[in-house]
């Protein structure tokens, strides 16, 4: 008998929740392929370590961008491997609930469900990430009060107001942590004349990146390839530089939160002031981001206890209570 699954198919990480067992898999959404034969060489952590360090015949790719499938075949193979790793075989076909960005198009929705079905799922239902995040973050969404959740992922940032188990207002932008990494890469290339990789940019973000000034700031040395000479070169970056480099991206995220607040019914506005907004997703871990949102909206911002797992736990709760929570799935609302 197949155990039903909830999958948070994120641009950065993929998490799988198995009914009755909890989170059974948590790894980067990366797959390494042999360019010539198309064979899968590695997935997850192993493939992530290969990014930017592969010989010509290997390509390590993220098959999702902005929360949407950019390469259908590769995504299907990745989902198939994920399902195999958690014990799904051709004889045990589970029901699957997949978390997707709320802004995905009808075509993108179909791509995700088709990929899951072809990979071995008996049935595939979709749930919006901010809704799943609110369930997983233990917000009192069953009550007639305004709950606001900001989910900042690798490729999308979504803000939702939820009351009585449904979405009241929603605002999504296809901007996330990867855009912050790209902004750092571009800045270092433009201002210091050196090329750095995706992973190095991410390490800089984690080490000294911030959205607002924070105490105990330090500088960081970064090494890359000099664009003029082609030789390795090291430069020192300051937190102020990185704040400047990522300001455009951070501003887009903050503005989407402001737009969502403006869309929410006036009756719920007082709830936000007393209850605050909840930040989930890996992008929410950027230093100073909560403070920056709080300053610009004048609404308290709180960090979820499990920012990286909230979405899959919420979808997992839907799998545990599949019949009672059917109306949460996209396309099932009456």
């Amino acid at each position: 008998m197949a155990r039903d699954l909830a999958i948070d198919l994120g641009t950065a990480n993929t998490l799988v929740y198995m009914k009755g067992r909890g989170i059974v898999l948590n790894e980067p959404s990366v797959i390494a392929l042999n360019r010539q034969t198309g064979e899968v060489l590695a997935t997850g952590h192993e493939a992530w370590h290969m990014i930017g360090r592969t010989p010509g015949y290997i390509v390590a790719v993220r098959p999702l961008r902005g929360g949407a499938i950019t390469d259908f075949d590769v995504t299907e193979r990745m989902i198939r491997l994920l399902l195999q790793r958690v014990g799904v075989s051709r004889f045990t076909r589970p029901k699957v609930v997949i978390c997707v960005p709320s802004a995905i198009t009808e075509v993108e929705r179909r791509a995700v469900t088709d990929a899951a079905r072809r990979a071995g799922a008996a049935d595939a239902q979709l749930i919006e990430q901010p809704m799943a995040a609110a369930i997983g973050a233990q917000l009192p969404i069953d009550e007639p009060v305004g709950n606001m959740v900001i989910d900042i992922g690798g490729g999308t940032s979504e803000t939702a107001v939820i009351s009585l188990g449904g979405i009241v207002a929603l605002e999504a932008v296809r901007v996330g942590s990867f855009d912050i990494d790209n902004a750092i890469q571009n800045y270092v290339r433009r201002e210091h004349g050196i090329a750095i990789g995706e992973r190095t940019a991410e390490e800089i973000k984690v080490a000294i990146g911030s959205a607002a000034q924070t105490p105990d700031e330090v500088e960081a040395e970064v090494s890359g390839r000099d664009l003029m000479m082609g030789l390795p070169k090291t430069v020192v970056l300051t937190p102020e530089e990185i704040r400047y480099a990522i300001d455009d991206v951070v501003s887009q995220i903050v503005q989407s939160v402001v737009r969502c607040l403006a869309k929410a019914p006036a009756e719920l506005a007082q709830d936000f002031l007393t209850r605050g907004m909840y930040l989930v997703g890996g992008g929410g871990l950027l230093r100073g981001l909560a403070e920056r949102i709080e300053t610009e909206t004048q609404v308290p911002v709180r960090m979820s206890q499990m920012p990286l797992e909230s979405v899959v736990l919420g979808a997992g709760h839907c799998i545990e209570n599949y019949d009672a929570l059917k109306r949460m799935f996209m396309g099932q609302r009456r």
Partner: protein
């Protein structure tokens, strides 16, 4: 003969009752109960079971190095 007729009547009544139950249109009471069931399944008590009762399983490699981006 009477017993056979009686049996046929009983079977017809049972079949009619089953069909009537399965084909009846949803009433407003059904939708109220359904919505209540939906809200009950979203209550903090119901969710605590999912979030707290099951441990988060991490892979061995994840403990050494992990990308920090959002899911």
């Amino acid at each position: 003969m009477v017993y056979i007729l009686l049996a046929v009547v009983v079977i017809c009544v049972v079949v009619f009752a089953v069909l009537a139950t399965s084909r009846r249109t949803p009433t407003s009471n059904d939708s109220v109960a359904d919505f209540q069931r939906h809200l009950n399944a979203l209550s903090p008590e119901a969710r605590r079971h999912t979030v707290e009762n099951y441990p988060v399983v991490t892979s061995p490699t994840e403990e050494t190095e992990e990308p920090d981006d959002g899911a």
